[in-house]
């Protein structure tokens, strides 16, 4: 197991190097950042001068090598927009993204498990139909619509919560509710189908025949074996919630990593895009690693070499 973990950690390095090259290429071909730094009225002479001053007139290969050289020395570069170290910008945003992601993920998992287990236990009853319907609705509804509806209902019509922003627990409610609705709707069907499959196993039949209470059979014997796909979902959803909750962050003006990366792309602020994407990549890899370890803990039959 130790060797396996070490190998996985070392894999991060080539993955990140390849990622920097891909991102650099994509942002380079997307266009000229100077076009966005100066107003259209500035004139071509002024733009050419700024391009030269920032080294953006150099050939692609030279720009990439300079960037890579700085990166290997721990220098992620300076944001063209904020004129601040790109890595520090990303690190400022990560706590907000983690806060929103963790709250949303926890709520999604709890809601997903409760409703998924209930739907499986009461299979083919009105409750099962209702839960399946909710899950389908959650997957069908666009995220921005859900967000705007929640704002109109709970912040404008019934002013219980703030419309947008960050800073207090109240600001967290609506954006995390939005993400919970979207994420839990993916978890519910998975838990339900896994529970149904597990409940049909011989050892469950044995447990029932021993006269154990239904709740003991479900939660002590069956539930543990449905956790493997749940861990997979968490590992897959975490990077999405951290760096991809752009629409939710934009609508709620939540200052997270998704919005920073989006602004970086929109402004062709290459250093910020690189730093942001690499942060998400590292978190994704770590999340996958943690999920691999969790598999072993839950299911001792899983071993790594």
């Amino acid at each position: 197991m130790g060797n396996y973990l070490l190998k996985r950690m070392l894999q991060i390095i080539p993955v990140l190097l390849i990622l920097t090259f891909i991102i650099f290429c994509l942002v380079y071909v997307a266009g000229d950042p100077v076009a966005l730094m100066l107003p259209p009225e500035a004139g071509e002479t002024a733009k050419a001068a700024l391009r030269k001053a920032l080294g953006l007139d150099k050939p692609f290969a030279e720009q990439y090598l300079i960037y890579l050289g700085n990166l290997l020395r721990g220098n992620f570069g300076t944001s063209y927009v904020y004129n601040q170290d790109a890595l520090s910008l990303v690190l400022e945003r990560i706590p907000y993204s983690i806060e929103l992601a963790m709250v949303s993920l926890c709520c999604s998992v709890v809601l997903g498990i409760v409703l998924g287990v209930a739907a499986a236990h009461f299979r083919n009853t009105p409750l099962d139909l209702f839960v399946n319907g909710l899950a389908a609705l959650g997957q069908a509804l666009p995220g921005f619509w859900v967000a705007i509806m929640l704002i109109l209902l709970f912040a404008v019509q019934i002013p219980l919560l703030p419309v947008s922003g960050a800073g207090t627990w109240k600001h967290l409610v609506l954006p995390s509710a939005t993400l919970t609705i979207l994420t839990s709707s993916k978890i519910i069907p998975l838990i339900r189908s896994n529970m149904i499959e597990v409940m049909q196993q011989d050892y469950i039949r044995t447990a029932r025949s021993k006269g154990l209470r239904s709740s003991v059979v479900v939660f002590k014997h069956a539930f543990k074996n449905t956790l493997v796909p749940v861990i997979t979902i968490i590992a897959m959803q975490l990077p999405t919630l951290l760096g991809g909750a752009l629409i939710t962050e934009t609508i709620f003006a939540w200052p997270g990593l998704g919005m920073l990366i989006y602004r970086g792309v929109a402004n062709l602020d290459m250093t910020v895009v690189q730093a942001g994407v690499m942060a998400v990549a590292v978190i994704t890899i770590m999340a996958n690693l943690v999920s691999d370890i969790a598999y072993c803990l839950i299911d001792p039959t899983i071993k790594y070499q």
């Binding site: 000229d32 076009a35 009225e41 004139g43 922003g165 929109a266």
Partner: protein, 508 residues
Amino acid sequence: MTKKKLVACLTAMLLVLSCLPALGATAESERKVLTIAQGGDISTFDMQNHNNGVTGAVLCNFSHGLVERADADNSWVCVLAESYQMIDDSTWEFKLRHDVTWHNGDPFTAADVKWTYERVAQDDQLKENHIFKIIKEVQIIDDYTVRFITDGPYPTMLSLLSKNGSQVMPSKYIQENGLDYYLEHPIGCGPYKFKEWVKDSVVVLERYDDYFGGTPYWDEVRFRSIPEASTRVAELLSGDVDIITNVPTNEWDRIDQNEGTEIVLGNGTRVFNVIMKWNTSPTQNQKVREAVAYAIDAKSIIASVLKNAGTPCYTRIAPGVFGQDTSLYDIDKYDAQKAKELIAESGYNGEEIELLVPSGRYLMDSEVGKIVAAMLQQVGLNVRVNVLEWSAYINKFNVGDFNGMALIAYGDDFFDASYGMNEYRTENCTPISCYSSEAYDALYLEALNNMDPVSRAAQLIQMQQMIFVDECVQAPFIHLKVPYGINSRLNFTSRIDEMFYVNRITLK
């Protein structure tokens, strides 16, 4: 503890906890707090390195320039300067106020002025360098007198020193602590000092009690960054925000009909323009270009899509900008029949013309672009609309990567027509429109160094006639108004430069 006692304790705790917010609210409600929501975040506290209106609207409350523009008529007023005079064509002298302090208590002196403007004139990595590099030197005559030496005659010195991005920076503080420290802990000399900046969320400024202009009106000013327009509107309707910018037209009725909020239409400098390629068929034919100008029914667009938030015009120079040709403003030249005749005379063979249109950058830009394309199609031009998000649009626009025409809405924060008309010089037209005229280039350079305002204004007007009438290089058509959503508790007068000088926004 018995069950009854436990319930009693919990009830007492809940009662106490529920009272706490009310206590906080009472203290909070006695403070005067103004909240403004813009569509983006500021980018920096480096006064000369941002070049965007969102940042400028915050920084103008944080620090000052030597001169600024008055709210009412856009004339110049001395702020950090007590007086100024032109010594000769290349030398301007400013006497500075003696009673100004930075937010850390340091006195404002001539050294700050010298450091600020020589820095931006010499550092070509700063975004304002291209316009400030005309300053050769700033001489310190004494602690409160400076002289600006320009590279040749420079009639627009006051426009330069009052534009967005002209605020002075604290030289001693930056030299002692470094620029990076200043950017994290900025200080200015304006009525509001830095309290907090949560990036992509909010900039909070608080009252600076030792402000030379008297006690600032607000205790705290919050500039929030809310990218989504519907969210900004919801914030205004819920009462958590006092002023919002960039309000789409489909929300105006909702804001006006809501008790306690209203829409205010202010003046700005943005003018919708159709840029036309000078060197490719068919727009290289002047008759085709003139047909485009006649084919656009600006009044209909203003009445429908823009909800009367605009004025028809045939110059990109807006009112309030020195040197505007007023004969080209608020007139209607729409004539579809004449447009058709010009197209027939031009020999146009029906080839496709692209109209590149931005989306989400200007008020109803993509809608206006589509309507313009339809109007051009009605007079016989085969126009294909290409709508792009702003960063994709501006990259194509800047390299001239469009086949025929592009829609844009130029602004002007310099308030001198020489700024906008600079674009038509040969060196700046390449590769966008590729217009080139030696006569125009010569006239421009003559006006650039002309110190007589009367004859210079005449030259600027002549330039507009050359570009927009004689050769019809571009087709400006609508001068846009600027919509603000405001809380009706405020006395708010918009400014033509779209800045928010919050000390002059008060409660009714």
